[in-house]
C-alpha cells in the first residue's frame, strides 16, 4: 500500500502543476505510466514473492496490466479530444491517473472497472437524465440496466470488459432477481441458512478475479434491499404480499444471524475480511456491539486475547478519568463548558439522552477525548458521533427482549456503576478510533470538511450536471448545506435507528488501509503469532502510557498522533471519507427532481430539513447501495481527492 501511494503522490503533485496547459497530456500520461511501472515493480517485494497467494495475485494483476496499458492508450486519445472540446482537461487527465493505477496489486478488484468507466463517464448525461426522471426505487434499477448496456456496448477493450460484463451481468441478474422475488412463491430455507444462492454465485464469480487485495471487501457490493413497490398488475392483495414480505424478512434475518454466528462463535481468530463483507450489508442487533468493536479495530480479532485486552483498555480509561478529574489537573474550562452546553442538546428527541447518568457519561467521554487530542479538541458535532457507539454498547447489557427499549431505559436501572464505566471506556476508545479516521475534519480550519465539500461538488458536477448548473444559477454553494453532512456524517439528516444501520456499513469501510499501512511501516512483534491484519492493528494500537497520560501538556500524545498519522492519513482518507462523499452525492441526487424546480431559498430550506423522518433501513440501504455504485463508476474521479 505504501509502495503504491509513494510514487503516485509525487506524480500527482507534478500533475497539479501541469494541468494548466492542455498540451501537457502526452508527457503527463507517459510520466504517470512510468511512475506506475515503478510502483508496480516495487510491489513485487520479497515478501510478496514468498507468499503464494500474493504471487498468484501478482500474476493476475500482471495480465491485467496489459489490458490497462492498452486502455490507457485509448483514453489518451479520447482525452486529447475532450481537452480540446471542453477544455476540462484537469478532470479528464486525472481519470487517467486512476486508469494507470488500476493494476496495482494492492488495489481492490473493484477498480478493474475503472478503465471502461473512463470511457463511460464522459457521456454521463443520458444516465443522469434517466436517473432523474425516475423515482428513487426504480431509478436504481434503471441504473443497472444502463450500466450493463454501456458496458457491453463499449467493447473497446475486450479482455477487461469481459470482467465488467461478468460483474455487471451478475449484478443485473441479481437485482432483477430480487425484484422478481415478489412475484414468486416464498423461498424456503433448504440449506439451514448457510448462504443464499445469490451470495454463492456472487462469490464464485468474484473469486476468479479476486486478488489478495486487502480491500477486496469492496467487491462485495451491497445486497440490494427489497423493493417495496407493488406492481399494480399483481393480482394478489396487499395483505398477502405483506405477509410474504414479513416471512421473507424473517427468513433472511435468521440467515444473517446464522452467518454472523458462524463468523464470530467458537473461533480463535475472527476472519475480519469476512466480517467486513457481511457487515457492510447490516449487522443483526444482537451481534452489533461486538461486531462494531471489531470493525473499528478496537477489539482484537484473536478471541483469546479479547478479555485481557478489554480489561486493560477499561482500566486505562479509568486511570485517565482519575487523573483528569484529580486536583492536580487543572480543568480546561472553555472545553468543559462547551461540552456542557452541548450535552443537553444531544439527541434531545431521545429519552435516553435526558437521563442524568447518561449525560454525565457522555460529558466525561467527550472531555477526556478533547483534552487528549489537543490539536483537535472538542468540536461541536463530535457529541453526535459518540452516541451511536454508546447506545449500541448499552444493548449488550440488556435482555434481548428489551434491546428495542434501549432509547427509553435509564442505564442505571439495569447496569452497575462498574458496568457503566466499562461501557464508557469502550465508547471512548471506539470514538477515538473513529475520529482517528477523520481527524482532518476537526483540526483548525476543518480542512477535511472543506475538501470533502469540494469533492462532493465536483462529483455532483459529473453525475448530475443539470442539478449542478441549477445550483450555480441559484447561487447555492455546497458548503451552505453540505458542511453539516460532513461534520456529523449525515447523522443530523436521519433518525437514530437509520444512522445505526448506516454505521454498520460505515464501520465496515473503516481502517483496513490503516491496518495495511501499519503493517508495512511497523515490524510485527515477533512474540506474537502472525494474525489477521486487524489483529495486528489492535496489537499496535498505540495508547499513551500512564506517564504520558499524566503529562498535562499532552505534547507527547500529540507527537505520537502526528507521526503515526502521517504515513497513513492519505490512505486512510480514501476509505470512510471517500465513501461518505458518495453517500452524500447519492443523497443529494435523490432529491434532484424536487430541487430542480426550487429557488435558492427553497433549496437551502429543503436541504436543511430533508424529508427523511419516515426513512426505513430499506431506504438507507438503497442509498448506500447507490453510493456504492457511484463509487465504483466514478472511482477515477476520486484519484485526485485527498
Amino acid at each position: 500500500m505504501a509502495v503504491r501511494s509513494g510514487p503516485h503522490e509525487m506524480s500527482e503533485k507534478g500533475h497539479h502543476n501541469a494541468h494548466e496547459s492542455s498540451s501537457v497530456g502526452v508527457g503527463l500520461v507517459s510520466s504517470l505510466m512510468k511512475s506506475w511501472r515503478i510502483s508496480s515493480s516495487s510491489s513485487s517485494s520479497p515478501k510478496a514473492a514468498s507468499d503464494p497467494e500474493l504471487s498468484t495475485s501478482r500474476r493476475s494483476s500482471q495480465s491485467n496490466n496489459d489490458n490497462n496499458h492498452r486502455t490507457g492508450a485509448i483514453s489518451l486519445m479520447n482525452d486529447q479530444k475532450f481537452a480540446d472540446s471542453d477544455g476540462n482537461f484537469d478532470a479528464i487527465a486525472k481519470q487517467k491517473t486512476s486508469t494507470i493505477r488500476t493494476p496495482s496489486a494492492s488495489y481492490s478488484p473493484m477498480r478493474y472497472m475503472s478503465p471502461s468507466n473512463t470511457n463511460n463517464v464522459t457521456n454521463e448525461s443520458p444516465r443522469t437524465s434517466l436517473l432523474r426522471h425516475n423515482n428513487h426505487h426504480s431509478s436504481t434499477h434503471t441504473l443497472t440496466h444502463t450500466i450493463s448496456n454501456t458496458t457491453t456496448g463499449n467493447g473497446r477493450e475486450p479482455s477487461s470488459s469481459r470482467h465488467h460484463d461478468r460483474y455487471f451481468k451478475d449484478l443485473d441478474e441479481d437485482w432483477s432477481a430480487v425484484i422478481d422475488d415478489y412475484n414468486m412463491p416464498i423461498p424456503t430455507i433448504l440449506n439451514g441458512g448457510v448462504d443464499s444462492p445469490y451470495a454463492l454465485s456472487r462469490k464464485s464469480t468474484t473469486s476468479s478475479i479476486n486478488t489478495t487485495s486487502v480491500r477486496s471487501t469492496s467487491f462485495n457490493y451491497p445486497q440490494l434491499p427489497h423493493i417495496q413497490k407493488v406492481d399494480s398488475s399483481d393480482l394478489r392483495s396487499e395483505e398477502e404480499l405483506d405477509a410474504e414480505r414479513n416471512v421473507q424478512e424473517l427468513n433472511s434475518m435468521i440467515q444473517r444471524i446464522a452467518k454472523f454466528d458462524d463468523i464470530l462463535k467458537n473461533k480463535h481468530i475472527i476472519n475480519q475480511q469476512q466480517l467486513r463483507e457481511i457487515s457492510w450489508n447490516g449487522v443483526p442487533k444482537i451481534h452489533r456491539p461486538v461486531v462494531w468493536k471489531l470493525l473499528i479495530g478496537y477489539l482484537p480479532a484473536n478471541t483469546k486475547r479479547q478479555a485481557l485486552f478489554l480489561q486493560r483498555k477499561r482500566k486505562e480509561y479509568r486511570d485517565g478519568l482519575d487523573h483528569t478529574f484529580s486536583n492536580q489537573h487543572s480543568r480546561d474550562i472553555p472545553t468543559w463548558h462547551q461540552i456542557e452546553i452541548d450535552i443537553p442538546r444531544t439527541n434531545p428527541q431521545i429519552p435516553l439522552y435526558q437521563f442524568k447518568s447518561v449525560q454525565a457519561s457522555l460529558q466525561k467521554i467527550l472531555y477526556l477525548w478533547a483534552i487528549r487530542h489537543p490539536t483537535s479538541g472538542y468540536v461541536q458535532g463530535i457529541n453526535d458521533l459518540v452516541t451511536p457507539f454508546y447506545q449500541t454498547f448499552l444493548t449488550e447489557y440488556l435482555d434481548p427482549s428489551q434491546v428495542d427499549e434501549v432509547e427509553k431505559l435509564d442505564p442505571e436501572t439495569y447496569m452497575t456503576k462498574e458496568q457503566i464505566l466499562d461501557i464508557e471506556a469502550d465508547t471512548f476508545w471506539c470514538l477515538t478510533k473513529l475520529l482517528e479516521q477523520i481527524t482532518d475534519n476537526y483540526i483548525h480550519g476543518q480542512p477535511g470538511i472543506l475538501k470533502q465539500v469540494k469533492n462532493l461538488s465536483q462529483l455532483v458536477k459529473r453525475i448530475d450536471i443539470d442539478l449542478y448548473n441549477h445550483f450555480q444559477k441559484e447561487h447555492v454553494e455546497f458548503i451552505q448545506f453540505a458542511f453539516r453532512w460532513m461534520n456529523c456524517l449525515l447523522m443530523r439528516e436521519f433518525e437514530m435507528g437509520t444512522v445505526i444501520r448506516m454505521w454498520d456499513t460505515y464501520l465496515s469501510e473503516t481502517s483496513q488501509e490503516i491496518t495495511s499501512s501499519t503493517n508495512s511501516t511497523t515490524p510485527t512483534d515477533p512474540s506474537m503469532p502472525p494474525l489477521t491484519p486487524k489483529e495486528q492493528s489492535s496489537a499496535t494500537f498505540v495508547t499513551p502510557t500512564n506517564d504520558s497520560f499524566r503529562s498535562p501538556s499532552s505534547a507527547t500524545i500529540t507527537n505520537n498522533m502526528n507521526t503515526s498519522s502521517d504515513n497513513s492519513t492519505r490512505i486512510r482518507q480514501s476509505s470512510l471519507n471517500e465513501f461518505h462523499v458518495f453517500v452524500c452525492a447519492a443523497f443529494l441526487i435523490k432529491w434532484s427532481d424536487q430541487l430542480m424546480v426550487m429557488d435558492f431559498q427553497g433549496i437551502i430550506t429543503f436541504l436543511q430539513n430533508p424529508p427523511t423522518k419516515d426513512w426505513t433501513e430499506t431506504d438507507i440501504e438503497m442509498l448506500l447501495g447507490e453510493a456504492y455504485i457511484w463509487q465504483s463508476l466514478y472511482k477515477d474521479a476520486t484519484s485526485h481527492w485527498l
Binding site: H16, R345, Q380, Q446, Q480
Partner: protein, 219 residues
C-alpha cells in the same frame, strides 16, 4: 436578475446574520421570530441554517432572510464566508453569562472584518426571563451599544419578549439606510431604484463573484 421567473412577494430582501457565543439562544431567537417556536433543547447549530420571514416596513414588504451560525471558535474560519452579502447583523449574548457579553467585542470585530462597512448592527441581551440570574446589567450593555452605534434590546426567546421588536428595529434601520442609499445613488445604473420589485439587496454573490470563488482551487 430574472425577476419574471419567480413571482416575488416582497419588495426587498435583506440578509441578516446572527452571531454570538454558543448557547446564548441564537437558534431559538430565529425560530421564535420566523415560526414562533421555542425549543428548550434544540440541537446545536452545525455550519449554518437560515429561515425567512416577511414583514412590512413603511408600506414596503421586506423579506428578512436570517442566517444562523454556530458560535464555536472552530467554526469561525468557515462561518466568515457567510457574512458575505449581509446587510444586517445581530450580536447576541446571554444576560445570565457575563462571558458571553464580554465576547461581544470580539464578535463585533469579526463582523467589521468580514462584513460590508455599512452593515446595520444590533446588540441583543437574550434570556431576559432569567432575571434572577442576571450577570450583565442593562445599563452597561446599553452603554456599550451606544458607544459602538449599535441598536440594543433585551429579549427572551423563551417568552418571546421583545423578539419581534428587536428584529423589526434592525430591519427598519436597514431599510432606512437602503432607501437613503438609493436616493444618494440616484439612477447610477443599479436596478435598485428602477425596479423596486425583486431582490434589491442581493444576498448572494453576483455571478462574477461566484465564478471567482468556484474556480479557486481547494487542494
Amino acid at each position: 436578475m430574472n425577476n419574471e421567473d419567480y413571482g416575488y412577494d416582497y419588495d426587498y430582501l435583506f440578509k441578516i446574520v446572527l452571531i454570538g457565543d454558543s448557547g446564548v439562544g441564537k437558534s431559538n431567537l430565529l425560530s421564535r421570530f420566523t415560526t414562533n417556536e421555542f425549543n428548550i433543547e434544540s440541537k446545536s447549530t452545525i455550519g449554518v441554517e437560515f429561515a425567512t420571514r416577511t414583514i412590512e416596513v413603511e408600506g414596503k414588504k421586506i423579506k428578512a432572510q436570517i442566517w444562523d451560525t454556530a458560535g464555536q471558535e472552530r467554526y469561525r474560519a468557515i462561518t466568515s464566508a457567510y457574512y458575505r452579502g449581509a446587510v444586517g447583523a445581530l450580536i447576541v449574548y446571554d444576560i445570565s453569562k457575563s462571558g458571553t457579553y464580554e465576547n461581544c467585542n470580539h464578535w463585533l470585530k469579526e463582523l467589521r472584518d468580514n462584513a460590508d462597512d455599512n452593515v446595520a448592527v444590533g446588540l441583543i441581551g437574550n434570556k431576559s426571563d432569567l432575571a434572577h440570574l442576571r450577570a450583565v446589567p442593562t445599563a452597561e450593555a446599553k452603554n456599550f451599544a451606544s458607544e459602538n452605534e449599535l441598536l440594543f434590546t433585551e429579549t427572551s426567546a423563551l417568552n418571546s419578549e421583545n423578539v419581534d421588536q428587536a428584529f423589526r428595529e434592525l430591519i427598519t434601520a436597514i431599510y432606512q439606510m437602503v432607501s437613503k442609499h438609493q436616493v444618494d445613488l440616484g439612477d447610477s445604473g443599479n436596478n435598485a431604484a428602477a425596479a423596486p420589485k425583486g431582490p434589491t439587496i442581493s444576498l448572494t454573490p453576483t455571478p462574477n463573484e461566484n465564478k471567482k470563488s468556484s474556480s479557486s482551487n481547494c487542494c
